[in-house]
Protein backbone atom coordinates (compact mmCIF):
# COMPACT_ATOMS: atom_id res chain seq x y z
CA UNK A 1 0.00 0.00 0.00
CA UNK A 2 2.90 2.31 -0.64
CA UNK A 3 2.01 5.45 -2.48
CA UNK A 4 4.40 4.56 -5.25
CA UNK A 5 2.19 1.93 -6.87
CA UNK A 6 -1.16 3.06 -8.21
CA UNK A 7 -4.36 1.73 -6.58
CA UNK A 8 -5.84 1.26 -10.00
CA UNK A 9 -3.88 0.97 -13.20
CA UNK A 10 -5.63 0.66 -16.54
CA UNK A 11 -3.86 0.21 -19.86
CA UNK A 12 -5.31 -0.02 -23.34
CA UNK A 13 -8.77 -0.86 -22.06
CA UNK A 14 -11.30 -1.67 -24.74
CA UNK A 15 -14.94 -2.30 -23.87
CA UNK A 16 -17.90 -2.84 -26.10
CA UNK A 17 -21.42 -2.84 -24.72
CA UNK A 18 -23.92 -4.01 -27.28
CA UNK A 19 -22.91 -2.30 -30.49
CA UNK A 20 -21.39 0.67 -28.75
CA UNK A 21 -17.63 0.86 -28.37
CA UNK A 22 -17.49 2.44 -24.92
CA UNK A 23 -13.71 2.47 -24.47
CA UNK A 24 -11.16 2.16 -27.21
CA UNK A 25 -7.77 2.11 -25.56
CA UNK A 26 -8.26 3.84 -22.24
CA UNK A 27 -5.26 4.43 -19.96
CA UNK A 28 -5.47 5.53 -16.36
CA UNK A 29 -3.60 5.43 -13.05
CA UNK A 30 -5.21 6.27 -9.72
CA UNK A 31 -3.25 7.34 -6.67
CA UNK A 32 -3.99 5.35 -3.49
CA UNK A 33 -5.50 6.92 -0.39
CA UNK A 34 -7.37 9.59 -2.26
CA UNK A 35 -10.93 10.28 -3.33
CA UNK A 36 -11.14 10.26 -7.08
CA UNK A 37 -14.30 11.85 -8.41
CA UNK A 38 -15.50 10.37 -11.66
CA UNK A 39 -17.40 13.14 -13.41
CA UNK A 40 -19.14 13.43 -16.71
CA UNK A 41 -22.48 13.54 -18.45
CA UNK A 42 -24.65 10.45 -18.26
CA UNK A 43 -23.70 7.86 -20.84
CA UNK A 44 -20.06 8.94 -20.89
CA UNK A 45 -18.84 5.59 -19.52
CA UNK A 46 -18.56 6.28 -15.80
CA UNK A 47 -20.46 3.18 -14.73
CA UNK A 48 -18.68 1.01 -17.28
CA UNK A 49 -15.31 2.20 -16.01
CA UNK A 50 -16.41 1.45 -12.47
CA UNK A 51 -17.62 -2.01 -13.48
CA UNK A 52 -14.21 -2.66 -15.06
CA UNK A 53 -12.44 -1.72 -11.85
CA UNK A 54 -14.72 -3.99 -9.80
CA UNK A 55 -14.16 -6.76 -12.36
CA UNK A 56 -17.75 -7.38 -13.38
CA UNK A 57 -17.50 -5.93 -16.88
CA UNK A 58 -16.62 -8.10 -19.83
CA UNK A 59 -13.73 -6.39 -21.58
CA UNK A 60 -12.47 -6.83 -25.11
CA UNK A 61 -8.89 -5.90 -24.44
CA UNK A 62 -6.36 -4.16 -22.23
CA UNK A 63 -5.53 -4.65 -18.58
CA UNK A 64 -7.14 -3.43 -15.39
CA UNK A 65 -4.91 -3.85 -12.36
CA UNK A 66 -6.40 -3.16 -8.94
CA UNK A 67 -4.20 -3.10 -5.83
CA UNK A 68 -1.55 -4.92 -7.86
CA UNK A 69 -3.84 -7.73 -9.00
CA UNK A 70 -5.99 -8.23 -12.10
CA UNK A 71 -9.44 -6.73 -11.46
CA UNK A 72 -12.03 -9.26 -10.32
CA UNK A 73 -9.49 -11.70 -8.82
CA UNK A 74 -11.02 -13.67 -5.90
CA UNK A 75 -8.38 -12.22 -3.56
CA UNK A 76 -9.75 -8.75 -4.28
CA UNK A 77 -13.30 -9.53 -3.21
CA UNK A 78 -12.59 -8.59 0.40
CA UNK A 79 -10.30 -5.69 -0.47
CA UNK A 80 -12.56 -3.97 -2.99
CA UNK A 81 -16.18 -3.13 -2.21
CA UNK A 82 -18.71 -1.75 -4.60
CA UNK A 83 -22.09 -0.13 -4.51
CA UNK A 84 -23.89 0.12 -7.82
CA UNK A 85 -26.01 2.99 -9.04
CA UNK A 86 -29.26 1.29 -8.16
CA UNK A 87 -29.29 0.56 -4.44
CA UNK A 88 -28.53 -3.17 -4.59
CA UNK A 89 -30.28 -4.36 -1.46
CA UNK A 90 -33.13 -6.75 -0.79
CA UNK A 91 -36.11 -4.46 -0.59
CA UNK A 92 -38.20 -7.06 1.23
CA UNK A 93 -35.68 -7.30 4.07
CA UNK A 94 -34.93 -4.79 6.81
CA UNK A 95 -31.83 -2.62 6.91
CA UNK A 96 -30.41 -4.83 9.64
CA UNK A 97 -31.14 -8.07 7.78
CA UNK A 98 -29.57 -6.75 4.60
CA UNK A 99 -26.39 -5.62 6.29
CA UNK A 100 -26.18 -8.72 8.50
CA UNK A 101 -26.43 -11.00 5.47
CA UNK A 102 -23.49 -9.34 3.77
CA UNK A 103 -21.60 -9.25 7.08
CA UNK A 104 -21.91 -13.03 7.18
CA UNK A 105 -20.84 -13.38 3.54
CA UNK A 106 -17.63 -11.57 4.42
CA UNK A 107 -17.31 -13.76 7.53
CA UNK A 108 -17.25 -10.74 9.83
CA UNK A 109 -18.56 -10.53 13.41
CA UNK A 110 -22.06 -9.13 13.85
CA UNK A 111 -20.65 -6.07 15.60
CA UNK A 112 -19.44 -5.06 12.14
CA UNK A 113 -23.07 -4.72 11.01
CA UNK A 114 -23.76 -2.39 13.96
CA UNK A 115 -20.70 -0.35 13.11
CA UNK A 116 -21.56 0.33 9.47
CA UNK A 117 -25.25 0.93 10.17
CA UNK A 118 -24.27 3.54 12.72
CA UNK A 119 -21.66 4.97 10.35
CA UNK A 120 -24.30 5.75 7.72
CA UNK A 121 -26.72 7.04 10.36
CA UNK A 122 -29.38 4.36 10.03
CA UNK A 123 -29.37 3.01 13.58
CA UNK A 124 -32.97 4.16 14.07
CA UNK A 125 -34.12 2.54 10.83
CA UNK A 126 -32.43 -0.77 11.50
CA UNK A 127 -35.60 -2.84 11.69
CA UNK A 128 -37.37 -0.98 8.91
CA UNK A 129 -37.97 -2.79 5.64
CA UNK A 130 -35.90 -1.42 2.78
CA UNK A 131 -38.95 -0.73 0.63
CA UNK A 132 -40.29 1.53 3.38
CA UNK A 133 -37.14 3.65 3.37
CA UNK A 134 -36.70 6.99 1.69
CA UNK A 135 -34.43 7.14 -1.35
CA UNK A 136 -31.59 8.52 0.71
CA UNK A 137 -31.94 5.88 3.40
CA UNK A 138 -31.96 3.17 0.74
CA UNK A 139 -28.76 4.54 -0.77
CA UNK A 140 -27.18 4.65 2.66
CA UNK A 141 -28.15 1.02 3.29
CA UNK A 142 -26.37 0.09 0.09
CA UNK A 143 -23.42 2.23 1.14
CA UNK A 144 -23.28 0.59 4.57
CA UNK A 145 -22.69 -2.77 2.88
CA UNK A 146 -19.82 -1.28 0.90
CA UNK A 147 -18.17 -0.21 4.17
CA UNK A 148 -18.08 -3.73 5.64
CA UNK A 149 -14.73 -5.14 6.64
CA UNK A 150 -11.52 -3.32 5.88
CA UNK A 151 -11.77 -2.53 2.18
CA UNK A 152 -8.74 -0.88 0.63
CA UNK A 153 -10.70 0.39 -2.32
CA UNK A 154 -14.31 1.52 -2.12
CA UNK A 155 -16.05 2.05 -5.45
CA UNK A 156 -19.33 3.94 -5.38
CA UNK A 157 -21.44 4.59 -8.45
CA UNK A 158 -23.43 7.82 -8.01
CA UNK A 159 -23.94 7.36 -4.26
CA UNK A 160 -25.37 10.85 -3.79
CA UNK A 161 -27.76 11.01 -6.72
CA UNK A 162 -31.15 12.38 -5.77
CA UNK A 163 -30.13 13.18 -2.21
CA UNK A 164 -30.70 16.49 -0.47
CA UNK A 165 -27.69 18.74 0.19
CA UNK A 166 -27.57 17.97 3.91
CA UNK A 167 -27.41 14.25 3.29
CA UNK A 168 -24.88 14.71 0.53
CA UNK A 169 -22.65 16.66 2.87
CA UNK A 170 -22.97 13.89 5.45
CA UNK A 171 -22.04 11.21 2.94
CA UNK A 172 -19.05 13.18 1.74
CA UNK A 173 -18.07 13.44 5.40
CA UNK A 174 -18.09 9.64 5.55
CA UNK A 175 -16.04 9.39 2.35
CA UNK A 176 -13.49 11.84 3.71
CA UNK A 177 -13.26 9.81 6.92
CA UNK A 178 -12.48 6.71 4.87
CA UNK A 179 -9.83 8.48 2.82
CA UNK A 180 -8.25 9.74 6.06
CA UNK A 181 -7.85 6.09 7.06
CA UNK A 182 -5.87 5.51 3.87
CA UNK A 183 -8.72 3.96 1.89
CA UNK A 184 -8.87 4.74 -1.81
CA UNK A 185 -12.27 5.84 -3.06
CA UNK A 186 -13.72 6.13 -6.52
CA UNK A 187 -16.96 8.08 -6.44
CA UNK A 188 -18.88 8.85 -9.58
CA UNK A 189 -21.21 11.80 -9.78
CA UNK A 190 -22.70 14.08 -12.33
CA UNK A 191 -23.14 16.86 -9.83
CA UNK A 192 -20.17 19.07 -10.50
CA UNK A 193 -20.35 20.93 -7.20
CA UNK A 194 -19.24 17.68 -5.61
CA UNK A 195 -16.00 18.00 -7.56
CA UNK A 196 -14.59 20.28 -4.86
CA UNK A 197 -14.92 17.53 -2.30
CA UNK A 198 -12.64 15.18 -4.24
CA UNK A 199 -8.86 14.98 -4.17
CA UNK A 200 -8.57 14.03 -7.82
CA UNK A 201 -10.96 14.47 -10.68
CA UNK A 202 -11.53 12.40 -13.74
CA UNK A 203 -13.59 14.20 -16.30
CA UNK A 204 -15.03 11.88 -18.87
CA UNK A 205 -16.88 12.40 -22.10
CA UNK A 206 -17.91 9.87 -24.73
CA UNK A 207 -15.71 7.09 -23.35
CA UNK A 208 -12.59 9.21 -23.07
CA UNK A 209 -10.89 10.89 -20.18
CA UNK A 210 -11.00 14.57 -20.98
CA UNK A 211 -8.98 15.53 -17.95
CA UNK A 212 -7.36 13.89 -14.97
CA UNK A 213 -6.70 16.71 -12.60
CA UNK A 214 -7.38 18.15 -9.16
CA UNK A 215 -10.21 20.53 -8.24
CA UNK A 216 -7.77 23.43 -7.93
CA UNK A 217 -5.99 22.75 -11.21
CA UNK A 218 -9.32 22.31 -12.96
CA UNK A 219 -10.23 25.92 -12.20
CA UNK A 220 -6.80 27.20 -13.18
CA UNK A 221 -6.67 25.18 -16.40
CA UNK A 222 -10.11 26.22 -17.50
CA UNK A 223 -9.90 29.80 -16.29
CA UNK A 224 -13.34 29.52 -14.74
CA UNK A 225 -14.43 30.18 -11.19
CA UNK A 226 -16.70 27.22 -10.50
CA UNK A 227 -16.36 23.54 -11.36
CA UNK A 228 -19.57 23.40 -13.35
CA UNK A 229 -18.40 26.04 -15.80
CA UNK A 230 -14.90 24.67 -15.76
CA UNK A 231 -16.17 21.29 -16.79
CA UNK A 232 -18.33 22.75 -19.55
CA UNK A 233 -15.33 24.69 -20.79
CA UNK A 234 -13.20 21.55 -20.97
CA UNK A 235 -15.99 19.69 -22.75
CA UNK A 236 -16.27 22.54 -25.24
CA UNK A 237 -12.56 22.40 -25.91
CA UNK A 238 -12.77 18.63 -26.20
CA UNK A 239 -15.50 18.84 -28.78
CA UNK A 240 -13.50 21.45 -30.67
CA UNK A 241 -10.55 19.06 -30.78
CA UNK A 242 -9.48 16.44 -28.28
CA UNK A 243 -5.81 17.44 -28.70
CA UNK A 244 -6.47 20.82 -27.15
CA UNK A 245 -8.48 19.51 -24.25
CA UNK A 246 -5.90 20.63 -21.74
CA UNK A 247 -3.68 23.61 -21.50
CA UNK A 248 -1.09 21.51 -19.78
CA UNK A 249 1.75 20.96 -22.24
CA UNK A 250 2.98 17.80 -20.54
CA UNK A 251 -0.11 15.66 -20.79
CA UNK A 252 1.25 12.16 -20.70
CA UNK A 253 -0.43 9.38 -22.66
CA UNK A 254 -1.10 7.68 -19.35
CA UNK A 255 -3.47 9.92 -17.52
CA UNK A 256 -2.13 10.72 -14.09
CA UNK A 257 -2.94 13.75 -11.99
CA UNK A 258 -0.07 16.16 -11.93
CA UNK A 259 0.53 16.06 -8.23
CA UNK A 260 0.99 12.30 -8.45
CA UNK A 261 3.61 12.67 -11.13
CA UNK A 262 5.41 15.14 -8.95
CA UNK A 263 5.24 12.70 -6.05
CA UNK A 264 6.84 10.05 -8.14
CA UNK A 265 9.70 12.15 -9.30
Amino acid sequence: MMNSSPAVSIAGLRVKRGKVQVFDGLDLDLTPGRITGLMGPSGCGKSTLIRCVVGIQKVQGGTVTVLGLPAGTPALRRRVTYSSQQASVYTDLSVGENVTYFTRLYGLPSTEADRVITAVGLADQRSQRADDLSGGQLTRTSLAIALLGQPELVVLDEPTVGLDPVLRAELWGIFRGLADQGITLIVSSHVMDEANRCDDLLLMRAGRIVAHTTPASLLIESGKSDPDEAFLELIRRDIAGPRHSLDTPNEAPVSTPRHAEEDQR
Binding site: I56, Y82, Y90, L93
Partner: protein, 239 residues
Amino acid sequence: MRLLATAGRVLSQLRRDPRTVAMMALLPMLLVGLFAWVMPAKQFAQIGPMLIALFPFIVMFIVTSIATLRERTSGTLERLLTTPLRKAELLFGYEIAFGLVAVLQAILVVTFAVYVCGLDIAGSLWVVGAMAVVNALMGTALGLLASAFARTEFQAVQFMPVFVFPQMALGGVFMPRSQMPDVLSAISNWLPLSYSIEAVQRASINVTGWDLNRPLLILVGVTLLALLLGSLTLPRRTP
Protein backbone atom coordinates in the same frame (compact mmCIF):
# COMPACT_ATOMS: atom_id res chain seq x y z
CA MET B 1 -21.43 -20.25 6.85
CA ARG B 2 -22.03 -18.30 3.63
CA LEU B 3 -24.21 -21.16 2.44
CA LEU B 4 -26.38 -21.09 5.56
CA ALA B 5 -26.41 -17.29 5.61
CA THR B 6 -27.80 -17.39 2.08
CA ALA B 7 -30.41 -20.04 2.92
CA GLY B 8 -31.40 -17.99 5.97
CA ARG B 9 -31.66 -14.84 3.89
CA VAL B 10 -33.93 -16.54 1.34
CA LEU B 11 -36.12 -17.88 4.16
CA SER B 12 -36.33 -14.41 5.74
CA GLN B 13 -37.48 -13.04 2.41
CA LEU B 14 -40.12 -15.76 2.21
CA ARG B 15 -41.31 -15.03 5.73
CA ARG B 16 -41.96 -11.45 4.67
CA ASP B 17 -44.30 -12.68 1.97
CA PRO B 18 -47.10 -14.64 3.69
CA ARG B 19 -49.09 -14.96 0.50
CA THR B 20 -46.28 -16.81 -1.27
CA VAL B 21 -45.71 -19.02 1.76
CA ALA B 22 -49.42 -19.82 1.83
CA MET B 23 -49.31 -20.67 -1.86
CA MET B 24 -46.29 -22.91 -1.45
CA ALA B 25 -47.66 -24.72 1.57
CA LEU B 26 -51.37 -24.88 0.83
CA LEU B 27 -51.82 -24.86 -2.94
CA PRO B 28 -50.61 -28.43 -3.62
CA MET B 29 -52.85 -29.61 -0.82
CA LEU B 30 -55.92 -27.76 -2.07
CA LEU B 31 -55.40 -28.95 -5.63
CA VAL B 32 -55.08 -32.55 -4.48
CA GLY B 33 -58.30 -32.04 -2.50
CA LEU B 34 -60.03 -30.65 -5.56
CA PHE B 35 -58.98 -33.60 -7.71
CA ALA B 36 -60.16 -36.02 -5.02
CA TRP B 37 -63.51 -34.33 -4.98
CA VAL B 38 -63.92 -34.17 -8.76
CA MET B 39 -62.78 -37.70 -9.55
CA PRO B 40 -64.23 -41.10 -8.80
CA ALA B 41 -62.24 -42.80 -6.04
CA LYS B 42 -60.73 -45.38 -8.38
CA GLN B 43 -59.34 -42.79 -10.76
CA PHE B 44 -58.07 -40.62 -7.91
CA ALA B 45 -56.22 -43.61 -6.50
CA GLN B 46 -54.24 -43.71 -9.76
CA ILE B 47 -53.63 -40.04 -10.26
CA GLY B 48 -53.34 -38.92 -6.63
CA PRO B 49 -49.70 -40.00 -6.11
CA MET B 50 -48.65 -38.19 -9.29
CA LEU B 51 -50.26 -35.01 -8.07
CA ILE B 52 -48.33 -35.30 -4.81
CA ALA B 53 -45.12 -35.10 -6.85
CA LEU B 54 -46.21 -32.73 -9.60
CA PHE B 55 -47.73 -29.84 -7.69
CA PRO B 56 -44.69 -29.23 -5.46
CA PHE B 57 -42.55 -29.31 -8.61
CA ILE B 58 -44.73 -26.74 -10.38
CA VAL B 59 -45.06 -24.43 -7.40
CA MET B 60 -41.31 -24.46 -6.67
CA PHE B 61 -40.49 -23.93 -10.33
CA ILE B 62 -42.56 -20.76 -10.48
CA VAL B 63 -41.49 -19.35 -7.12
CA THR B 64 -37.80 -19.99 -7.71
CA SER B 65 -37.72 -18.71 -11.26
CA ILE B 66 -39.23 -15.42 -10.12
CA ALA B 67 -37.18 -15.15 -6.92
CA THR B 68 -33.92 -15.65 -8.77
CA LEU B 69 -34.96 -13.43 -11.66
CA ARG B 70 -35.47 -10.68 -9.10
CA GLU B 71 -32.00 -11.37 -7.80
CA ARG B 72 -30.64 -11.02 -11.33
CA THR B 73 -32.50 -7.83 -12.20
CA SER B 74 -32.32 -5.96 -8.88
CA GLY B 75 -28.53 -5.74 -8.90
CA THR B 76 -28.19 -7.89 -5.79
CA LEU B 77 -26.80 -10.80 -7.81
CA GLU B 78 -24.14 -8.54 -9.29
CA ARG B 79 -23.32 -7.35 -5.79
CA LEU B 80 -23.19 -10.88 -4.37
CA LEU B 81 -20.71 -11.84 -7.06
CA THR B 82 -18.36 -9.09 -5.90
CA THR B 83 -18.29 -10.65 -2.41
CA PRO B 84 -16.50 -13.85 -1.35
CA LEU B 85 -19.78 -15.79 -1.90
CA ARG B 86 -19.27 -18.75 -4.23
CA LYS B 87 -21.82 -19.50 -6.90
CA ALA B 88 -22.39 -23.01 -5.52
CA GLU B 89 -23.11 -21.47 -2.12
CA LEU B 90 -25.71 -19.22 -3.67
CA LEU B 91 -27.39 -22.02 -5.61
CA PHE B 92 -27.38 -24.51 -2.77
CA GLY B 93 -28.48 -21.75 -0.40
CA TYR B 94 -31.61 -21.50 -2.50
CA GLU B 95 -31.93 -25.28 -2.58
CA ILE B 96 -31.69 -25.56 1.21
CA ALA B 97 -34.21 -22.78 1.82
CA PHE B 98 -36.75 -24.10 -0.66
CA GLY B 99 -35.95 -27.67 0.37
CA LEU B 100 -37.07 -26.85 3.93
CA VAL B 101 -40.28 -25.38 2.58
CA ALA B 102 -40.66 -28.47 0.40
CA VAL B 103 -40.46 -30.72 3.45
CA LEU B 104 -43.28 -28.80 5.07
CA GLN B 105 -45.18 -28.88 1.81
CA ALA B 106 -44.71 -32.65 1.45
CA ILE B 107 -45.83 -33.38 5.00
CA LEU B 108 -48.99 -31.34 4.43
CA VAL B 109 -49.83 -32.72 1.01
CA VAL B 110 -49.22 -36.38 1.87
CA THR B 111 -51.09 -36.15 5.17
CA PHE B 112 -53.98 -34.38 3.51
CA ALA B 113 -54.16 -36.77 0.54
CA VAL B 114 -54.09 -39.86 2.72
CA TYR B 115 -56.05 -38.88 5.81
CA VAL B 116 -58.53 -36.38 4.41
CA CYS B 117 -58.96 -37.43 0.79
CA GLY B 118 -58.66 -41.12 1.55
CA LEU B 119 -55.89 -41.81 -0.94
CA ASP B 120 -54.78 -45.40 -0.59
CA ILE B 121 -51.00 -45.66 -0.60
CA ALA B 122 -49.54 -49.13 -0.23
CA GLY B 123 -45.95 -47.92 0.00
CA SER B 124 -44.30 -45.99 2.79
CA LEU B 125 -45.76 -42.52 3.26
CA TRP B 126 -42.27 -41.29 4.10
CA VAL B 127 -40.91 -42.50 0.78
CA VAL B 128 -43.81 -40.93 -1.10
CA GLY B 129 -43.25 -37.70 0.84
CA ALA B 130 -39.55 -37.87 0.01
CA MET B 131 -40.48 -38.09 -3.69
CA ALA B 132 -42.45 -34.87 -3.30
CA VAL B 133 -39.38 -33.20 -1.77
CA VAL B 134 -37.06 -34.50 -4.51
CA ASN B 135 -39.44 -33.11 -7.11
CA ALA B 136 -39.67 -29.78 -5.34
CA LEU B 137 -35.86 -29.58 -5.30
CA MET B 138 -35.75 -30.37 -9.00
CA GLY B 139 -38.38 -27.67 -9.59
CA THR B 140 -36.17 -25.22 -7.68
CA ALA B 141 -33.08 -26.13 -9.71
CA LEU B 142 -34.88 -25.90 -13.04
CA GLY B 143 -36.56 -22.65 -11.98
CA LEU B 144 -33.13 -21.22 -11.18
CA LEU B 145 -31.91 -22.19 -14.62
CA ALA B 146 -35.06 -20.95 -16.37
CA SER B 147 -34.72 -17.51 -14.77
CA ALA B 148 -31.60 -16.99 -16.86
CA PHE B 149 -33.71 -17.01 -20.00
CA ALA B 150 -36.26 -14.46 -18.87
CA ARG B 151 -35.80 -10.73 -18.89
CA THR B 152 -38.91 -9.88 -16.93
CA GLU B 153 -41.14 -11.57 -14.37
CA PHE B 154 -43.83 -11.57 -17.02
CA GLN B 155 -41.65 -13.74 -19.22
CA ALA B 156 -40.64 -15.93 -16.29
CA VAL B 157 -44.18 -17.00 -15.45
CA GLN B 158 -44.69 -17.99 -19.08
CA PHE B 159 -42.09 -20.73 -18.73
CA MET B 160 -44.34 -22.70 -16.44
CA PRO B 161 -47.00 -23.69 -19.01
CA VAL B 162 -44.39 -24.05 -21.77
CA PHE B 163 -42.18 -26.23 -19.64
CA VAL B 164 -44.67 -28.16 -17.56
CA PHE B 165 -47.80 -28.90 -19.60
CA PRO B 166 -46.14 -30.80 -22.46
CA GLN B 167 -44.22 -32.83 -19.89
CA MET B 168 -47.41 -33.65 -18.06
CA ALA B 169 -49.05 -34.77 -21.30
CA LEU B 170 -46.07 -36.94 -22.23
CA GLY B 171 -45.07 -38.02 -18.74
CA GLY B 172 -47.86 -40.50 -18.18
CA VAL B 173 -50.38 -38.52 -16.16
CA PHE B 174 -53.23 -39.05 -18.59
CA MET B 175 -52.01 -42.11 -20.42
CA PRO B 176 -49.31 -44.64 -19.50
CA ARG B 177 -46.12 -43.97 -21.43
CA SER B 178 -45.97 -47.56 -22.64
CA GLN B 179 -49.23 -47.08 -24.51
CA MET B 180 -48.17 -43.91 -26.33
CA PRO B 181 -47.12 -43.78 -30.00
CA ASP B 182 -43.46 -44.73 -30.31
CA VAL B 183 -42.31 -41.22 -31.13
CA LEU B 184 -43.97 -39.71 -28.08
CA SER B 185 -42.83 -42.49 -25.84
CA ALA B 186 -39.26 -41.95 -27.07
CA ILE B 187 -39.51 -38.22 -26.40
CA SER B 188 -40.93 -38.84 -22.94
CA ASN B 189 -37.79 -40.82 -22.08
CA TRP B 190 -35.93 -37.53 -22.22
CA LEU B 191 -38.30 -35.53 -20.03
CA PRO B 192 -37.56 -35.26 -16.32
CA LEU B 193 -41.21 -35.25 -15.27
CA SER B 194 -41.63 -38.74 -16.77
CA TYR B 195 -39.30 -39.98 -14.06
CA SER B 196 -41.01 -37.89 -11.38
CA ILE B 197 -44.22 -39.65 -12.21
CA GLU B 198 -42.57 -43.03 -12.50
CA ALA B 199 -40.81 -42.66 -9.15
CA VAL B 200 -43.82 -41.52 -7.16
CA GLN B 201 -46.09 -44.11 -8.76
CA ARG B 202 -43.69 -46.88 -7.89
CA ALA B 203 -43.14 -45.58 -4.37
CA SER B 204 -46.87 -45.50 -3.79
CA ILE B 205 -47.34 -49.14 -4.76
CA ASN B 206 -44.41 -50.14 -2.58
CA VAL B 207 -41.89 -50.83 -5.34
CA THR B 208 -38.39 -50.70 -3.88
CA GLY B 209 -34.83 -51.37 -5.01
CA TRP B 210 -33.45 -50.45 -8.42
CA ASP B 211 -36.90 -49.96 -9.99
CA LEU B 212 -37.44 -47.08 -7.59
CA ASN B 213 -33.83 -45.92 -7.34
CA ARG B 214 -33.33 -45.61 -11.08
CA PRO B 215 -35.94 -42.87 -11.68
CA LEU B 216 -34.89 -41.31 -8.38
CA LEU B 217 -31.25 -41.15 -9.47
CA ILE B 218 -32.32 -39.58 -12.76
CA LEU B 219 -34.20 -36.88 -10.85
CA VAL B 220 -31.19 -36.17 -8.65
CA GLY B 221 -29.00 -36.11 -11.77
CA VAL B 222 -31.30 -33.65 -13.53
CA THR B 223 -31.30 -31.46 -10.42
CA LEU B 224 -27.50 -31.41 -10.22
CA LEU B 225 -27.17 -30.81 -13.96
CA ALA B 226 -29.66 -27.93 -13.78
CA LEU B 227 -27.66 -26.42 -10.91
CA LEU B 228 -24.42 -26.81 -12.83
CA LEU B 229 -25.91 -25.18 -15.92
CA GLY B 230 -27.49 -22.60 -13.63
CA SER B 231 -24.09 -21.66 -12.23
CA LEU B 232 -22.90 -21.07 -15.79
CA THR B 233 -25.71 -18.55 -16.21
CA LEU B 234 -24.27 -16.52 -13.32
CA PRO B 235 -21.18 -15.02 -14.91
CA ARG B 236 -19.24 -12.65 -12.72
CA ARG B 237 -18.50 -10.54 -15.75
CA THR B 238 -21.40 -9.39 -17.88
CA PRO B 239 -21.33 -7.51 -21.18
